[in-house]
């Protein structure tokens, strides 16, 4: 229930945040804290230093930059979900953000925090993967860009090096307007047993592996003209979802096929 003792530091700028992180051992950034603090309370994460970046309002923004959207890493799920700009330009992202957790979680949790946490059962990693997003990252050596397909390395493992801070998520405006987000749970509040994010011909899956994954067999089938139902049959091809208390592997594979089919059908209605 109570985290192990740590030292709290507060950053007043992005540069200061990166600088503080470079000096400490076992440091973690604290944004909304709704991925990190629950782990710390169960003592599954024991950082020695927390660098609170929650006050960096300059990292909370949603900007239409013409060919792409720029979303600051500290934008809350609530702000992403209720953004008029995103409702118009990236409804997949806005809608998925509205499904994260519950209202209290959405008021605190941030898109950057969720992505940096790298949980393959979370909703937004699959969404940014489907949207071919680019992560803008600031570190001691400067700024770099990481494509979504390289960003997620494993369960709770991303391409972020120690001391690197995710500052922005840059998303190209989709060529095709069709989209759908299917999140399958037992109860509304649960993590997705399986989820599907579709944008045009891009199909990404939640909780079908150690990272969010693109359903490449489905995408290839679609590209070669297959109907949604036939393409969806390939949803689990080449994937190794886990079996756990929530669902067996076989059930996950079945759900992936069903949900991809539904997502593709819904996406078509939005074309």
């Amino acid at each position: 229930m109570i985290p192990v003792t740590f030292t709290y530091q507060r950053a007043s700028s992005v540069d200061e945040a990166v600088d503080l992180a470079s000096r400490g051992e076992e440091t973690k950034f604290l944004a909304g804290g709704h991925s990190l603090l629950p782990l710390m309370k169960l003592r599954l994460a024991v950082p020695e230093t927390l660098i609170d970046i929650g006050r960096l309002r300059e990292l909370s923004y949603i900007r239409d930059d013409g060919s792409h959207l720029a979303v600051g890493a500290l934008t809350s799920h609530h702000d992403v979900a209720t953004s008029d700009v995103l409702a118009r330009e990236l409804p997949l992202l806005a809608h998925a953000a509205s499904q994260v957790g519950d209202p209290q979680v959405r008021h605190c949790g941030t898109i950057g925090g969720s992505l940096a946490h790298g949980d393959s059962a979370a909703d937004l990693p699959a969404v940014v993967l489907a949207l071919d997003a680019t992560m803008i990252v600031r570190g001691p050596a400067g700024t770099r860009e990481i494509g979504a397909s390289e960003f997620f390395r494993g369960l709770f493992e991303t391409a972020l090096e120690d001391g690197e801070l995710l500052t922005e998520i840059r998303i190209p405006k989709p060529a095709s307007p069709g989209w759908s987000f299917q999140k399958f749970t037992k109860r509304a509040i649960d993590w997705a047993i399986v989820g599907v994010a579709v944008q045009g011909g891009n199909v990404a899956l939640v909780n079908m592996g150690q990272t969010p994954v693109r359903a490449t067999a489905v995408e290839q089938a679609l590209a070669s003209g297959a109907a949604p139902g036939d393409a969806a049959a390939h949803a689990a091809d080449g994937l190794t979802p886990s079996g756990d208390f929530s669902a067996s592997r076989g059930y996950r594979e079945h759900l992936a096929r069903v949900l991809v089919g539904r997502a593709l059908t819904e996406s078509l209605t939005r074309n």
Binding site: Y8, P103, H107, C108
Partner: protein, 170 residues
């Protein structure tokens, strides 16, 4: 570290361990025990308070994150238990029997206040979805939902009345 939080309009300042959770800061340093701890996985919502007007789970925030910000707890909704002084949501919970043991109630009430601030006339489905992070074991939620809808209705009547009054004056 020193943490200063404005709680229900009053400044509370204390020297606390860095790892102090906001819910414990409220219950200990601020001496406000209405907000309860019901779980340890941010699942139950009993600890819900408003932070700068938005509902948050105070067990999943460090007190440090609320430093120099404003928190409102259920105790801050009404100055007395005189029914006429109660907040419409408190009044509605009483009228609709939206509580039994009372343990989830402070968090439930604050979640409802936040919902109505963002959506002044929710449908029943919207109310139920908005409360998915607030567990209650006693009521089966039936009367809680009625209470929230009733409070929304009261707000609507009040707003309509105010609008009508200002129309008459114009």
């Amino acid at each position: 570290m020193k943490v200063t939080v404005t709680v229900n309009g009053s400044q509370v300042e204390a020297e606390v361990p860095d790892r102090t959770l906001l819910v414990h800061f409220l219950r200990e340093q601020a001496g406000l025990t209405a907000t309860n701890v019901g779980c340890d996985t941010s699942s139950c919502g009993a600890c819900t308070v408003l932070l700068d007007g938005q509902s948050v789970k105070s067990c999943t925030l460090l007190a440090a994150q609320a430093d120099s910000r404003a928190v409102q707890t259920m105790e801050g909704l009404a100055s007395s238990d005189d029914p006429d002084a109660m907040h419409p949501v408190q009044r509605a919970f009483r009228a609709e029997h939206g509580l039994q043991c009372g343990f989830c109630t402070p968090g439930m009430v604050m979640a409802a206040v936040s919902l109505l601030a963002e959506n002044s006339s929710p449908t029943e489905d919207e109310v139920r979805a908005a409360l998915e992070g607030n567990l209650c074991r006693c009521t089966g939620y039936h009367n809680i939902v009625r209470a929230v809808l009733a409070a929304a209705g009261e707000n609507q009547s009040a707003q309509a009345g105010a609008a009508a009054a200002s129309e008459r004056q114009a």
